[in-house]
């Protein structure tokens, strides 16, 4: 799959998460994004330094601002299972708006063409770091990092684009 780009429609896919009652749920991306303005951002790994200390907190801290600019959903995806995503989400007790979704088998990440082979690091297939602004399923902004950096995919950059 070629990497998703501005102007493309995002594919549908199913991601998993644990709800407040600790029940495993699966959700279709389209059901979350159709007719709405959503930010979809991804990290290579839960509990990894940059992801945990910069990328995610950036979106958590800016969530209110993003919402005030019309963003309906802020979705964080990682190729981790939902148990791990749940444990990771718990380390952000102040989080109000960011939803942590598990793409455990990397199927959605691959559908976006944004997978990253980190087998040499013992991480298997993961997601590239990216942030997409999607309006009614159409990609308006696609900020994909080339490697493991953290430059264009931050909340600040997306905020400027809104």
């Amino acid at each position: 799959m070629a990497p998703i780009a501005v102007g493309d429609s995002i594919p549908d896919g199913t991601l998993a998460y644990f709800d407040e009652q600790d029940q495993l749920q699966s959700v279709s991306i389209h059901s979350l994004a159709a007719g709405k303005k959503v930010i979809l951002f991804a990290v290579p790994g839960a509990f990894t330094p940059t992801c945990s200390m910069k990328h995610v907190p950036g979106f958590i801290d800016r969530a209110d601002e993003l919402k005030s600019k019309g963003v309906d959903e802020i979705l964080c995806i990682s190729v981790n299972d939902p148990f791990v995503m749940k444990a990771w989400a718990k380390t952000y007790p102040d989080n109000k708006h960011v939803k942590f979704l598990a793409d455990g088998s990397a199927s959605y990440t691959k559908a976006l063409g944004l997978e990253l082979d980190l087998s040499e690091k013992g991480l298997g297939t993961r997601s590239r770091r990216f942030a997409l602004l999607v309006e009614d399923l159409k990609v308006k902004v696609a900020n994909v990092e080339a490697g493991g950096e953290f430059t264009v995919s931050s909340a600040e950059v997306i905020l400027k684009a809104l």
Binding site: D81, S105, K110, D117, G124, G147, G148
Partner: protein, 233 residues
């Protein structure tokens, strides 16, 4: 006798694979580093970008050659070598080989399907932490928990359960060791997205040779607890 049977079936499996016409893409369960099922045949494979972790020199996990197709390990077998990883007490990413863990030592190795999953977190691992003292009193040099999770997740899990040095939490990130001993559990088709993991097991290994193996079906928790190991030692 069991060893001969295991060796025979291993060589059968290997022979079968070698005789099949196109071995370029082995069946997805045993394909290296892939956690997905085979319907995702998209071949886009990015060359690994140099990902900079804070702590480490680039670690190389790649095994040479094709993945080993293995019959399930049994008592009496010598453990294959493999590299496992973990974060040490100064937060440095380290690797340790199975042979370092087991050569000339008495070791308990147990595996869980997933860090942060209920049975693993609430029963299996805590059981070993609790019994670590008793196991060490019986002469165990090492008690290690292995999971097909990355080292970051294992570190977070260790912290979450407040585990110190009693039990090592080791990452079999690409599942290489798990596959080498034929203990993989393919959970790829489950909607939950767990990919290929390890079956639950506990084994007592003496100088690299499996002496006692308690292997569960899938993620069941019947024979692989710390108590079971203590009784068997």
């Amino acid at each position: 006798m069991a060893m001969a049977a295991a060796a025979t079936s291993a060589s059968f499996a290997l022979a079968k694979l070698l005789s099949s016409p196109k071995i370029k893409q082995p069946i997805s369960l045993l394909a290296p580093h892939k956690k997905t099922n085979s319907i995702f045949s998209s071949s886009a494979s990015f060359t690994p970008f140099p990902l900079k972790f804070h702590h480490s020199k680039p670690l190389n996990f790649s095994t040479t050659g094709a993945p080993k197709i293995s019959a399930t390990i049994s008592s009496g077998d010598k453990l294959p070598d493999a590299t496992l990883s973990y974060f040490d007490s100064s937060d440095e990413l380290k690797t340790v080989s199975v042979s370092e863990l087991t050569t000339n030592k008495k070791a308990i190795l147990f595996a869980v399907p997933g860090a942060f999953t209920p049975t693993c977190s609430q029963k299996h691992l805590p059981g070993f932490v609790e019994k670590a003292g008793e196991l060490k009193a019986k002469g165990m040099d090492t008690i290690a928990c292995i999971s097909v999770n990355d080292a970051f997740v294992m570190k977070a899990w260790k912290k979450d359960l407040n585990i110190g040095d009693e039990v090592l939490l080791l990452s079999d990130g690409n599942g290489d060791f798990t596959k080498a001993i034929g203990c993989e559990l393919d959970l790829s088709d489950k909607p939950i997205g767990l990919g290929v993991r390890s079956r639950r097991y506990a084994m007592y290994v003496e100088d690299g040779v499996v002496k006692i193996l308690n292997l569960e079906e899938g993620g069941a928790f019947n024979v692989s607890s710390a108590e079971d190991m203590l009784k068997a030692l």
